[in-house]
Every structure is written in structure tokens, then in C-alpha cells.
Point group: C2
Chain length 199, copies 2
């Protein structure tokens, strides 16, 4: 913006990749994946289209890299499980997840949207991220303190995850009517409640 655009700016490959991926995630927050054209991104980044192809090969690969970046951010920034009893650990994990989404609402939204609407690869990337979160809850629950491991409960936990995601996103979009603590409590308490029902 402030520099004369008549000059090329030459960055290291790492810097350039970072810049393009970050910009991609940012742009994705306000439009769908297929509205994220190479043209648009190149223009926003102030580079030629050719450079994008140099770094990512083709549009799909670029989209994939953007989604993977968003997923990695999520996994990395969500704090590891604290110790304590299982229920306490779950609350901690849920809180970390909620706080992350609050702090990165748009980026997270773009991850969810892209993954839900995308191809197999994109969905796998997202699945990985989600199971990384879930595993923190269930990893040390081998005794089934919270959830016994059966086909029915596996299914139900999937459903619960979808609910948690929806609750978090909806609550952030409109947090009136319920506090952060209430939300966390509801999400945590509903898991055993649902598992009970499925028993």
C-alpha cells in the first residue's frame, strides 16, 4: 500500500508462503472457497498470478493449503489437556476450544465452511483437527469414566461434537441469553446426558 507498486518485492519463499496463506485464510472468512479466485488473491497480495502457481501448483492445492493452515492453527493454539478428573479435563478442553473460536472467529468459520462443503481431502483435514480435539477428551478415559466405547457411543460422540460446534458458533454470533460459563456447562453436561440416553 505505502510502497510504490512499480517495484517487485522479493521475499524468501517461507515469508511469501506465510503471507499468501494468511491472506487466504483472511479472505476466506468473508467469501466461499470458490469465490476465492487466484485473480482475487493475487491482486490482494499485490503479486502476479504466476507466483501463486509457482508456490502452490494449482487452485485446488492452494485451497487445500489454506484449509490445512487454518486447521493447524486450531490444533496448535488449543491448549493441551490439563490434569484432574475426566470431567474437569473435558471442561478445560472445551474452554480452550471455545476461547480459540472466540479469538479466531472468522478464520475458524472459514475452516468449517470450507471443510463442510469441500472434497474428500478437505474434509479429512478437518476431521483430523476435530479428532485431535476429541482425543484430548477421551485419550485418558480408557476406563470409560465418561463414555464407554461402543459403536452406539462412538456415533453419539460424533453427534455431540457437531452439536458443540454449532453451539459455539451460534453463541458467538449472538451471545445474548446465556453466559460463557453456562454454555460450557451445557456442552459438558450434555455429553453424559446423551450417552445415558443412548445406553
Amino acid at each position: 500500500m505505502s510502497q510504490p507498486t512499480s517495484q517487485r518485492t522479493r521475499l524468501s519463499p517461507e515469508q511469501r508462503r506465510e503471507q499468501l496463506l494468511d491472506l487466504g485464510v483472511r479472505l476466506l472468512a468473508h467469501r466461499s472457497l470458490d469465490e476465492l479466485s487466484i485473480d482475487l488473491l493475487a491482486e490482494e497480495a499485490g503479486i502476479s498470478r504466476g507466483l501463486l502457481y509457482h508456490y502452490f501448483g494449482n487452485k485446488h492445492a492452494f485451497h487445500e493449503a489454506v484449509v490445512r493452515r487454518a486447521a493447524d492453527d486450531l490444533i496448535e493454539q488449543t491448549s493441551p489437556p490439563a490434569d484432574g478428573d475426566p470431567m474437569e479435563r473435558m471442561l478445560t478442553s472445551l474452554a480452550a476450544y471455545l476461547d480459540y473460536v472466540v479469538a479466531n472467529y472468522e478464520g475458524y468459520l472459514s475452516l468449517v465452511k470450507a471443510a463442510a462443503g469441500g472434497n474428500e481431502t478437505l474434509r479429512e483435514i478437518y476431521e483430523e483437527a476435530r479428532s485431535a480435539l476429541n482425543s484430548r477428551i477421551f485419550r485418558e478415559d480408557a476406563q470409560g469414566d465418561i463414555v464407554p466405547d461402543t459403536p452406539a457411543t462412538r456415533l453419539v460422540v460424533r453427534g455431540w461434537s457437531a452439536m458443540v460446534e454449532e453451539l459455539v458458533l451460534s453463541w458467538i454470533a449472538d451471545p445474548r441469553g446465556i453466559t460463557r460459563e453456562q454454555l460450557l456447562e451445557i456442552m459438558a453436561a450434555s455429553l453424559p446426558a446423551i450417552v445415558e440416553v443412548a445406553g
Copy 2:
């Protein structure tokens, strides 16, 4: 197919629109929205690309119309609530929804994916459809037999809907481990259970 393709067939605008939308929905079952090109559709329909633009203006508008059509099908074909007590009506509604998804798995999956990954408009269309399903719960439950109408419960019902969708899709993808009746029972029973927790 059976007529010589060398002749134009001239239909009434309504017939033509129907044909193109139906074909669009059908084609969408086996590919994603952005693989549904104007070229492909025109060829499958045996018409020129120009005609599609005449009817729908541009590709996005066509996609939108196709998704809206699929959503309308869902609402329409999901049978209206029978009479009986609230819990019974909910079970009936859930069963109708489940059966619809079973019968139109791929098409429904495409609808969900298209809506989730798409732009604001597409998501709104899908939201409408889902709230049409949900409103059956609130509308005829004015006395709050199942769910009292508060901000907290509205939020929770949203979450529950997301869970139901995930459960249905996951169960169809792999129905081992749990019967249709068990699934319905779990979904129905979990709503009061979650509402209880949120109380």
C-alpha cells in the same frame, strides 16, 4: 433421447424451468456444486448454454435455484406432523426426516455440502429449510410440553438439530451397531435430556 437432436424442442417456460431444475438436482447428487458446470447441464439437457442464461441469468443464480429446489423437496416430502401427544409427533417427524434422507442420501448430502460450503445466500436457503423442520417442534408445542421457549433453549435446539443431522448422515454411512428404531429413540430422547441440562 429418442427424438432426433437436430430439431429444437420448444417448451413452455414453466416446463423448461422444471426440467432444468430437476436435472440440476439429479446431477448434483453425484458431483459437487462447482463441478456442476453450465456446459455439463446444457449438454445433459440437450439445450444450448444460452438457454440456461436466459432462464437463470448466471451460474450462481442457477446453483441457487437448484439448491432452493432441493430444500423445497425436503420440506415438502417430510410429512407434516401427525396428531398425538408432542413426543409422539416429534418421533413421527424425525422418522419422516430420516426416511427422506435414506431415500435421497446422495442428493441430501449434496444439499448439505453445497449449503455449508456456499455463500450467504445458499446458507440462508438451507437455514430456512432446517428451521421449517424445527419450527414444527416449537409451533405445536406452544405449551412447552417438550421445550419451553427461551433464548437458551432456542440455542440448544439449534445444537440438537446439528447433532440430529450428523447422526442421521453418519448412521446411514455406517448403520452397523444400532438399529433404525434405536437411532430414532436416541435422537428423540436426547432433546429433552439436553433441554433439561440447559435448564
